[in-house]
Symmetry: none
Subunit: 125 residues, 2 copies
DNA sequence: TAACTGTGTATAATGCAGATATACAGTTTA
DNA sequence: TAAACTGTATATCTGCATTATACACAGTTA
């Protein structure tokens, strides 16, 4: 498994680990029931405390992306991932609805909104 | 002027003052160029430091809801449509940020998002 | 001049976030 | 069975941002 930690980026270490594993699970790069690296082993690789890797794993477990068998290891959860994706899509749609209402209230055109979004995207990456 | 401070609520005092005055300005309860209570007077009424009321006023001024004449007082700014428009734009930007975070969490591409938005727009009108 | 107005700088208190060490308990394996 | 691994639980340290504050200052008014 590949995890890259960027110390310069403002985002906390546990968060970087969390995000990278999460996207690897969602993308299928990590398969169902596949064993993840142990929190200690990964911590050793990354030269950080295992408490930090544990925190990342805890987050992922709380959201249902992995399950843990104490004293054995952590495993990629079976794909209710699709479900989570659906939920995320719904949330996005809700936000879009909010945006459209706000836009209507101050006479913003569709093009205006699209260009706002494109601009925000460029700023992000 | 009526301001109620709820010490039990988690929101900071300066924020409660800010919100209440702002909505009174927007609703028209406070009229254009009307003089607001002095930061010291209001602070005395509420039994807090005047620095706290000042902070609320500073926020409101920064957003253009009031203007200040040093050594005289603070006054309700003339109602500005542009101002409300700016506020709306900020809200929209917040929603966009949320969307981009959600999209990243399930590996949605930019194109996916744009087409979701275009689809929602067609559906609306 | 006394009593008011807002301003600016500096500071205390508080809480939260990030990262950690250490001691613990169960499982595997040699 | 002992060594080496797995994850767990508790307590702590540090740094930073937020909240709220005091006080000395400067202009206005009556």
């Amino acid at each position: 498994m590949h995890i890259l930690i960027d110390n310069k980026s403002g985002t906390p270490i546990y968060d970087q680990i969390y995000s990278q594993i999460k996207s690897q699970i969602i993308s299928g790069e990590l398969q169902e029931n596949e064993m993840l690296p142990s929190i200690r082993g990964l911590a050793k690789d990354l030269r950080i405390s295992f408490i930090t890797t544990k925190r990342a794993y805890d987050e992922l477990e709380k959201e249902g992306f992995l399950y843990t068998i104490p004293a054995k290891g952590c495993y990629v959860a079976p794909k209710n991932v699709e479900l989570l994706r659906e939920e995320t899509l719904k949330k996005i749609e809700d936000h879009i609805d909010q945006i459209l209402k706000l836009a209507a209230s101050c006479n913003l055109s569709k093009d205006d909104i699209v260009s706002m979004i494109l601009f925000a995207m460029e700023g992000q990456e």
